[in-house]
Structure formats: structure tokens, C-alpha cells
Symmetry: C2
Subunit: 484 residues, 2 copies
């Protein structure tokens, strides 16, 4: 059957008949909200936004879209950094925020089952009543479904792993409208091919994740933290490596470069800040380290961590022992994003996501810093140093063609360097729209296998077309749904 | 092209011409060694055994077999418990033990790259010189390739995860003779579909893993252990749950039931034992708990663990602080297998592998014990209690048809109970030959997707035919290579 040529309005009417009332919108502002994420990609609009309230609503929409070849773009909180939710081929933006039920919290087995639209902070508020938390923290208040779709990670990956290792089971609706339930509530399984792990990180291109069973962690008795400035990035990176290799029990190790510290200082000094005055930090690379455990173990881990920082020439090490002290210390990490944006208001932020082997961290950050400057770009570096993930936050004006050309040159050079070091183009943000050529460079020998998997799940190519896989790498012309 | 009808001798001659000399054997004893594993499945012989020494040897054999439709069964150490290495369709047993090079140990990034035939204990001897170890310990001295193929786990999964979370990258030869390299040396990646995780656990049905890059762990400064007997299994299981939920830093929690303790006592008292006399243990369920960390943290963790055991009514808690004390304590765990076999010499051992949600552990073990007795079978229970994995070691005489019928009844009942509890039929041993119907019961809604993946990797069905996927679940008659 050829792609439908129905108008957006007719499409909306048909969907409206399929679903309980009030779940379909073609309103301009609603469509605009579903056509833009946190990336620098050019916004584009879906034809229709659908708000399912249940798995069976999703089934109806997918079966319809499959038959009519209408593109479907799953939408969570819109916090993607790689253009995942942009409906580049038009069609339906499927907003899953209405699937917001925490189905079960099972304290004795450290699991919870949630619908895909549940947000991270909502879940953690509920879990805290049980002494538990979900330890994947990507920063944004994303939906759990979105976090699974991109295989999100964040600041605590070192200790707790990323989404793929914390999703035990999931319910997904395939494009044909069929529902599958992968995995189990057991902590581990070797039962057949790992379809759970395949759907996690598939970025909405294989099906729609509607429910997740997550492996939780007990809230530690004590959490302490320390921040330290270093003469050079190589010192800070060396300290991070030794913290990991020395197994001192650090659960977060964040590195912030001198450029970002400068931006923070100016943010605090200017109008941007709220709350009490913040004394400026030394404009040097800074490490933030968090340890956790039972009280005695956490105290010992903090002392061990401080010793490692000192051994690498920490210029200043400020410890935080009580929860308010820790919260104050971590606030600086969460303010980096806002401080960075204040450097060039109105510019778009481009977040890179290289991840290198741990032993390469210092050199990779030095290379990155030099490259940013050499290409005349504006931006700084933050790194989940415990796992080698390096983000550059670059501020660009998409209307400035020379700047965009230089950005492209920088990104290309960064990719070459990352791959030469044995790293990956994306540690946690995913491929989305903008990294498809990077995926070809990194895993070009496997794109046909990935396309075959795509075809098995989504024979008509309706699921999030234009994402993850370069179109021309399809081995035998998989049809891809396009705008009706 | 139809399956080849060449005789084994002609096949051997053709392979011999393809490969450097001395890599092909049709000798009876060699074939017999490659036709039996540690499972209770009936041995069967390959037509030819091939001993590649390099990835390019594997490429040659696979390209040949693909063209000629000859079944290929990858073989590591032969320690499979699920019949993985049995050449049920004849063909070639591909013995990878010659791919035994430790390619690199990268201390600063906590990774090592090894060829697939490297054995676990050989790797750990090398790693110990760098202060590192590889923390997946399935018990047997398996090859790393075999461990990856079955997604092995073992006693330390609670802290360190299983193979799928420790294999960062791999090289695999696909049936067409094509080599792919998945993943990277970075600790995490969101670059495309997770083909690394798909090949891990694929049990030789998608391709031949030839090289692995592994995530290592630093050897902890101190390791302590404690064993405790309990009045009932429910007490021991409750203690295990609280150790996990309390996050006291236990890295191994092993449960051994009273039947196995009885077998151990008789083993030690009889001729089977070697070494110094061992006083008998109370014939009660026993927990073995290991903690690790820097010296102060490890001491604190041991005290916390002992407090949890006491709170659950430990009848006797014996601590082991020094390395020799710990080794002596853990020896009893490793002697269980031998002690069990001595109960009925000449019988085959059947190891079940249910894994249930942690909160179900106590009841699941009680159910299991009752079922063993009700079906009149002989055997005991050991459990990786920290992750809910329950093994029963049953001693059966494959020639006793009544016993085998009762075994089947027991296995069926156990599967029903495990699935009803939200668990999985296999925590770590894999599906292999004997659990294909269990896989259908557990994931029957996904078998066609698994078959589609199989077809994408292995269009002629030459890779380990008859394993993992039930043949009749193939959606459109994938050709399966059969004995020539």
C-alpha cells in the first residue's frame, strides 16, 4: 500500500475516531511543542499530536499507522539532545506523557514497574518512601521511556550502570500493533537473544516502549562529597582515573574545565544567579567526587578520595559531609548548563558526547580544549570522568553559516580523535538525527545487520524515520515512511 | 545449493586444504571429546574437529561451511551445562582453544583484550600481576568466548554484573566469513543497536566470537567472608535479601541447602576428601557471604553482614579474615559439586538454573525442595542468593526411564513455578538444547523476532543448529543445516 495522502485534518479525524475522545490535537502550539528538543537541530512540526492514555491506545495508533504508512515519532519529555523527537518526515508525534502510572514498587525485590511516561523525579519521590532510588540520572527530568530509548546514563554510571543494565523487562508495542513483553523480574537471564537490550537504545525506531521494569538501588545511609581544583586538566583526569582504579567507592566523579568555571563565576556574580552570594571558584579544572555507603564506610571512602585528590596536586579540596553541604556542592554542577547559556544568550547549545577509554581521558580533554579554541568556537567541557564521557557545551548561532561550518569542522576532528582513541561517538545521548554519519564511521561494518533488525521489527519503516540508521545503508531498499 | 553430501573424510580433506596443516582431525577420541559436555544430554559426535589458530582460519572455515551448508558448532572448554556444544546435526566442531592469546592488558583503562579461547584462570593469573581481575566467575575454568556465548554469570554478579555488562567490544566472524567488530573500549556507548549484547548470549547461533574486550576490576585491598547456618531456608533467604537491600557491600552471597551440607559432610568423612580432616557442618541451610574493599571499609562491611545474619537467627557464624581463612571457607562451596556426585556415583548430574525476583527467593527454594522430594528425585540446592539464581543438582540415571519421566515432571513443575513468580528459566546457563521449550513458554511472543535476527546473521542456518530457538517457531521456514 502506498503512503497515505490524507491531509493532516483528515488524519486527525480518523485517529480521533479510533481513540477515546480528546487524545488528538492539530493545534499549532501543541504541534510546535512537539517539534523542538534541546538540540541545535532545526525544529519541524508533526502533522498531528496524539496523547495515548494506555497501551491499548498505542496499539490502535500503531496498527493504523502501520497500515497507512504514517510516520510515528515517540515523544517523552522533549529533553533529547540529538533531535530524536523531531518529526522530520511529518506524521504523528506520539506523546507518551499520559502513560504516567507507577504500576508497582516491590521493595523486597528492589524493582519497580512504571509506564513509559513516568518522569524520573516523580519516580524518585515515590521510591524514597521505600528507602529506594533509581540510580540513572541524566540530569534532565526525562521520562523513563525516553531514558530507555536512548540508553541514557549520567553521573552515576560508574557505580550503577546505565539504562541497559537497569531495565530488567519491558513492554513494547511493535509497528504492527502487536504487544511484546521482554525480559523478566529476575536480576539476570540468559533466555534467548537480548531483545530488552536491543529495544533499550533503539531510539524509537523499532517500536514504542510502553512499560518498564527497573532495577532499583537502596538509598545509601550516608553520602559525602568533595570538590577540588587542579593546576591542569591532566591532573584532574589523573585523579579521576586513580579514583576508579583504586576502587575507593566513588559513585560520581565529575570534571568541569576552567572555561565552565569562569562561566559559573560570572553567572554567580551577575544577575543570573538566585539565592545567597557564591564566592568565585579558582578558574581551574575542578573535580566533584561523591562517595556513599554505611556511615563508617562512607567516612573511610571520603578520606581515601581526598588522599587521591591530594596526591594529584589538588589546589583546594572542600569536603561536604551533611546533606545540605552536599546539595550546595552539587548545585554548581547543575548550574553549569544555565551559566554556559548566559555566556551567549540567544545562541543554541550543541552538546557533544564522546566517550573514550578511561586511560585516554586527560589527553582527550586536552585535545578537545585545543580544538574548540583552534576552530574559534565558544564553549567549555564537562565530563563524567569516572566513565570517560566528555561533553562539550558549544554556543552557536545557527544563522551564522561561517560558525556552523567551523562547528562542522570541529565535530569531524573530534570524531576522528575519539575513534582513534578506541572510543565512541556517543556515550549516552544516542545517534538521533545528527550522528548518523558518525555511526557509519564507527560501526559501518554493521549497518546492514542493524537495518535487517529494523526491518524485522518495522517492515514499513514507520518508526521514527530518519533516525539512527543512515538511509542509504539499507541493504535492499527498506521502504521508509515519508510525510503523507 | 543443497546440503553437501560429502563424506566426513572428504570434508576433512577439503578443510585440510583450506587451512595451515594439522588443524583438522577425524580421530575417534578427538571427536568423542567434542561430543560431550557437562550436561545430561546424550553425547553425539561431530564429523570433523577443526582447530583454528587465528581469526582468518575461522573466516576460511565459515565461508566454506556457509557455501556448503555444513553445520558449525563452536567449542570452548566443553564446560557447558546445557548441551551447547553437542553437534546434533553433525558437521564441524570448531575448537577455539588455539585462539589463546591475551592480546592486551590496559591497566590505566581497566580493560583487556583476549582471544576467545583464553581460559578464565589463565587470564586471572596474568591480570593479578597488574592488580586486576575479571569478575565473572562461573565456577568452571571456561573460555572467555564460551562465557560470552552463554552470557555467563556466577557468584559475583551482585556486585560486578554478568558477561553482557562486562564485554565492551567483540570481534565475531559471521557465517558468510565476514568479520565484524562491535562496541568500543569506552565504558559505555549509545551508538546504534546493541550488537555486542546480542552476540553475547547468542550461544554460537549467530556467529563465532573470536576476540573480546573486557571490563576489568581492581583487586580489592581486603576480602573477608563469613559462613552461617540457619534453622530454615526461609531464614537464610531472608538474610540474603536483607544483605542486598541493606547495601552492606556483600559481593558474594551463596546459599547451600541442608541436603548438600549432608553430602559435603559425608564426602569429607569418606574417601572422597583429600587434605586435612574437616569437622562436619550442622546439617542446616548455610550462607556464605563475602565482603571486599579497602581495609577499614571491608572490616565495617563484615561487621554489618554478621549483624544481618544474626538478626535472621544464624545458628553459628564463622568469620574468615585472612586470605587462607577465606580460601578454606570458600573451598566448601567449590566442593559441593564433587560431594554431590559422590552421592550416586555413575549418575549424570542435571543442573537447573531458575532465577527468580529477589523477594521470591525463600519461597521458591522451599517450593523447589518440596518438588524434588515429591518427585522422588535425588539432589540438593545451591543458590547465588544475591541475585535469585537457584540451581538444583539432580543425580539421574539416563537409562532409568521412570526416573527420567519423573525428572521431566519435576522440570515442568519448576518452570511453571519460576515463571509464575516473574522469573526466568535460565539465569546463566543459557537455553542450549534442552531449554528450547522453556524459552517458548517464557518468550513465545518473541520467537519470530529472534528467528528474524537469526536469519539476518545466518541465512543458511549453519551456526549451531538445533540450539536456542525451537525449529518450528521459525516464521517462514529458515533452512537449517543438517548432517551431510
Amino acid at each position: 500500500m502506498p503512503p497515505s495522502t490524507t491531509s493532516p485534518e483528515a488524519l486527525a479525524r480518523e485517529l480521533d475516531r479510533l481513540l477515546p475522545s480528546g487524545q488528538v490535537s492539530t493545534g499549532g502550539s501543541i504541534r510546535a511543542l512537539h517539534g523542538e528538543d534541546l538540540s541545535f537541530h532545526v525544529p519541524c512540526l508533526p502533522d498531528v499530536v496524539v496523547f495515548p492514555r494506555s497501551t491499548s491506545d498505542v496499539v490502535r495508533v500503531l496498527a493504523f499507522s502501520h497500515e497507512r504508512r504514517v510516520p510515528i515519532v515517540p515523544f517523552g519529555a522533549g529533553s533529547s539532545l540529538e533531535g530524536h523527537i523531531l518529526p522530520v518526515a511529518g506524521g504523528i508525534s506520539l506523546d507518551l506523557s499520559g502513560l504516567d502510572s507507577i504500576v508497582a514498587v516491590r521493595q523486597s525485590e528492589l524493582t519497580a514497574t512504571v509506564q513509559a511516561g513516568v518522569r524520573r523525579l516523580v519516580l524518585d519521590r515515590t521510591l524514597s518512601q521505600h528507602g529506594l532510588f533509581f540510580p540513572v540520572d541524566p540530569g534532565a527530568d526525562a521520562t523513563l521511556g525516553g531514558m530507555a530509548a536512548t540508553n541514557a546514563a549520567g553521573t552515576m554510571t560508574l557505580t550503577y550502570g546505565k539504562m541497559r543494565s537497569r531495565v530488567l523487562a519491558l513492554e513494547a508495542v511493535l509497528p504492527t500493533g502487536r504487544v511484546i513483553r521482554t525480559g523478566s523480574r529476575a536480576m539476570k537471564s540468559s533466555a534467548g537473544y537480548d531483545l530488552t537490550g536491543l529495544l533499550v537504545g533503539s531510539e524509537g525506531t523499532l517500536g514504542v516502549i510502553t512499560e518498564l521494569t527497573l532495577r532499583l538501588a537502596p538509598i545509601p545511609e550516608c553520602v559525602h562529597a568533595v570538590r577540588a581544583s587542579f593546576p591542569a586538566v591532566s591532573d584532574a583526569a589523573g585523579a579521576a582515573q586513580d579514583l576508579v582504579a583504586g576502587d575507593v567507592g566513588a559513585r560520581r566523579i565529575e570534571l568541569i574545565d576552567a572555561w565552565e568555571i569562569g562561566a559559573l563565576n560570572r553567572f554567580w556574580a551577575g544577575n543570573g544567579r538566585s539565592g545567597p552570594a557564591r564566592p568565585p571558584l579558582p578558574e581551574r579544572p575542578l573535580l566533584l567526587v561523591e562517595v556513599a555507603g554505611a556511615s563508617e564506610a562512607a567516612r573511610a571512602a571520603l578520606a581515601d578520595a581526598v588522599a587521591v585528590l591530594d596526591a594529584h596536586g589538588a589546589l583546594e579540596a572542600v569536603q561536604a559531609v551533611t546533606p545540605p553541604e552536599c546539595a550546595a556542592l552539587w548545585r554548581l554542577r547543575s548550574e553549569v548548563f544555565e551559566a554556559e547559556r548566559q555566556v551567549a544568550p540567544g545562541h543554541r547549545s550543541v552538546s557533544t558526547d564522546a566517550c573514550v577509554p578511561l586511560g585516554q581521558l586527560g589527553e582527550a580533554i586536552e585535545f578537545t580544549r585545543t580544538a574548540i579554541d583552534r576552530w574559534g568556537l565558544l564553549g567549555g567541557i564537562v565530563s563524567h570522568a569516572g566513565d570517560g564521557n566528555i561533553h562539550t557545551g558549544l554556543l552557536v548561532d545557527p544563522g551564522d553559516t561561517d560558525e556552523m561550518r567551523r562547528l562542522e569542522g570541529y565535530l569531524d576532528e573530534l570524531l576522528n580523535d575519539t575513534l582513534a582513541r578506541g572510543g565512541t561517538c556517543t556515550g549516552e545521548h544516542g545517534i538521533g538525527l545528527g550522528k548518523r554519519e558518525a555511526l557509519r564511521r564507527e560501526h559501518g561494518d554493521q549497518l546492514d545487520l542493524m537495518w535487517s533488525i529494523k526491518r524485522a521489527f518495522d517492515p514499513h519503516g514507520i518508526m521514527n524515520p530518519g533516525k539512527v540508521l543512515p538511509d542509504d545503508a539499507s541493504p535492499s531498499g527498506l521502504p521508509t515512511a515519508t510525510s503523507r
